[in-house]
């Protein structure tokens, strides 16, 4: 035993770095939507980077500790409190047996990562402790947390690691408006030249349907498709294709109206054409977007995407060296 859930928050789930290798059977990678923040949270409390943590979205849980532990909260600015006293984000602190961890209201971002020294100890399913909610797989009993849940914490390694902190420059958050960099492709050729220009020109707003499966965007002008006789098996709408796989981060626009970017719990395939894919380095940012936030899509090439990824990896390396 390690923690008892007093109130669960909105949709708090157990996540680690995910479950690769089963996407061809419709089981997505899952894992923290903001993987960088998840890794940082673990490093701050002396865990392995892929240890399981709690991912809280919009609203924090209230948790009683039944054991001493070191804790850190990264990602969204969701200020943690121990027995009512504020603690700093992106900084480790001690919680003693019997104390209660709770949270202030969300101030920025969308998802906070709560790492506890020793890691959340739920069964490993197909190589990961992450919850895949749609498939009732992994996590704590295949679901998000509920009041009364008693959850184990792994063996703590060594002494308290409290008061370690990640410098402000290394706390990554999307700007405002957020920019998501995109490599166009896959079925990009299916939309008109005008639609291609509009897609990158328009400012889009995050819709209320924004979760671990994907984020929907609205407010931009509808995208027109080039007329064609639909291929056999592709379905009748011009946005339809013969059902195919969907890359993580791929952007589909059913009916040409509202783009959807698939995320860690992606549906693995379907019949809507994809017009491009968000670059891997910007996927974490999506996990920190709130409904109604403004977003611009920016076109980049492959070399730029790799350079940005390299830069992001260097930032993570700096965090590793500090901790």
């Amino acid at each position: 035993m390690g923690i008892r859930v007093i109130s669960p928050g909105l949709a708090t789930s157990v996540q680690d770095l995910g479950r690769p290798g089963y996407y061809h059977l419709g089981i997505p990678i899952s894992g923290g939507m903001d993987r960088y923040a998840l890794r940082c949270a673990n490093l701050l409390v002396g865990n392995a980077e892929n240890a399981a943590v709690l991912e809280a979205v919009f609203l924090g849980p209230e948790i009683e500790f039944t054991r001493n532990a070191t804790v850190s909260v990264t990602g969204a600015n969701l200020p943690p409190k121990v027995d009512g006293d504020i603690r700093e984000g992106w900084t480790s602190f001690d919680v003693k047996k019997g104390q209660v961890l709770s949270f202030e209201y969300l101030q920025a971002g969308a998802r906070a990562y709560i790492a506890i020294s020793g890691g959340i100890d739920v069964p490993v399913v197909l190589g990961s402790r992450s919850l895949y909610g749609l498939g009732a797989l992994g996590g704590f009993n295949g679901r998000t947390l509920q009041a009364g849940d008693e959850i184990g914490i792994g063996e703590k390694s060594g002494n308290s690691l409290a008061a370690r902190s990640i410098p402000a420059a290394l706390r990554r958050m999307p700007g405002s408006p957020a920019e998501l960099r995109v490599i166009s492709g896959i079925y990009w050729h299916r939309i008109t030249e005008e639609a291609k220009a509009n897609f990158f020109e328009d400012t889009w707003g995050v819709a209320s349907e924004a979760d671990r499966i994907g984020y929907r965007f609205q407010k931009g002008r509808p995208l027109s498709f080039i007329d064609r006789k639909q291929p056999f098996g592709a379905g009748s709408d011009p946005s339809n294709i013969v059902d195919s796989c969907y890359p993580y981060g791929s952007i589909q626009v059913p009916g040409g109206t509202e783009p959807i970017v698939l995320h860690r719990d992606a549906v693995s395939g379907g019949g809507y054409c994809m017009i491009g894919t968000v670059i891997s380095a910007d996927m974490d940012y999506i996990g920190q977007l709130q409904p109604n936030m403004d977003v611009n899509f920016a076109e980049v090439d492959l070399d730029t995407a790799l350079a940005v990824r390299h830069e992001r990896n260097s930032g993570l390396q700096q965090v590793r060296e500090i901790n």
Partner: protein, 291 residues
């Protein structure tokens, strides 16, 4: 058919074998993805065959995307010369067509359907020029199907019938997706049959239900103890119409842990199949249920 490649971000390659669905396109997808898996490139983390396309995910810190693409093209050119032959299995799936549960569900969502005055089965039979629901069910269950993709959600098979294109059944999806579909509904959209592995939203027409679970994250069902997902791309499926009694018996057997799916191993050759489709399919039927 010339495969069209595209990068999906900096960590996926998407390959469209053909814009249109065909067994040939599926076989290319299956053989290339099999060869990619066998090549054991350590940077590759996902290999996903689909109906007429495929996708791989890789770690761009370990291999440059352009090198990955070159490697993939090399593998594809080697796989293309291989014979279209696979070792696979045929599985019999019992289906209670026109069952009360999918019927109740489809009646609840009638305003989202093309034809609010008939059932999904009646509609599909009519637009595919069958004279009755029975003859439609016969066509649906007489010839087997290839599982050409597993996904959307965990364990859901997409299936393409092993008949010439002119005999393919085609139906549109619902005008607007339903918010509910019973678990294990046998559905249809475009030219694909599916089995809903879990209860949830869905846009496919609903024809019936099977008592045989195909996804079990608890792994408590006897034949899903080794692995929680039943289907793999390349499996052959034959539907067997059953009545209410057999359905109830099936459900009871699953609960009692005594249900055993009818499965036969076989080697499938695309050339042999195409040289005599009906004869080939008849043999598959005889292997499974001796009729």
């Amino acid at each position: 058919m010339a495969t069209r490649y595209s990068f999906g971000g900096d960590d996926h390659i998407f390959a469209e074998v053909d814009e249109a669905m065909s067994l040939e396109a599926f076989f290319t997808s299956l053989s290339v993805t099999k060869a990619v898996k066998e090549s054991q490139i350590s940077a590759v983390t996902e290999v996903c065959p689909a109906n007429a396309s495929y996708q791989i995910k890789f770690d761009p810190d370990k291999i440059k995307p352009k090198d990955m693409l070159a490697e993939l093209k090399r593998i594809e050119s080697e796989a293309a010369s291989a014979e279209a032959v696979i070792s696979t299995r045929a599985v019999e799936i019992p289906v209670y067509y026109d069952d009360p549960w999918t019927r109740e569900t489809l009646m609840r969502f009638r305003e989202r359907h093309q034809d609010p005055n008939s059932t999904d089965l009646e509609y599909a039979a009519r637009i595919n020029n069958f004279d009755s629901i029975d003859s439609f069910i016969k066509a649906h269950s007489e010839s087997p199907w290839f599982v050409t993709m597993v996904g959307f959600v965990a364990g859901l098979p997409f299936m393409y019938q092993m008949v010439e294109r002119q005999r393919q059944i085609e139906v549109p999806k619902y005008l607007r997706p339903r918010t509910d579909t019973p678990k294990l509904t046998v559905g249809y959209g475009g030219c694909f049959a599916c089995i809903y592995s879990v209860r949830g939203a869905g846009g496919y027409q609903m024809f019936g239900i099977t008592p045989m679970p195909i996804y079990d994250p608890q792994q408590s069902i006897s034949y899903l103890k080794d692995f929680m997902v039943f289907f793999n791309p390349g499996d052959i499926v034959k539907f067997k119409p059953i009545d209410r009694n057999s359905y109830d018996e099936g459900v009871e057997a699953v609960e009692a842990g005594t249900f055993e799916p009818v499965i036969r191993e076989l080697v499938f050759s695309l050339d042999e199949f195409q040289s005599g489709i009906d004869e080939y399919n008849k043999n598959i039927g005889e292997m499974l249920h001796g009729n």
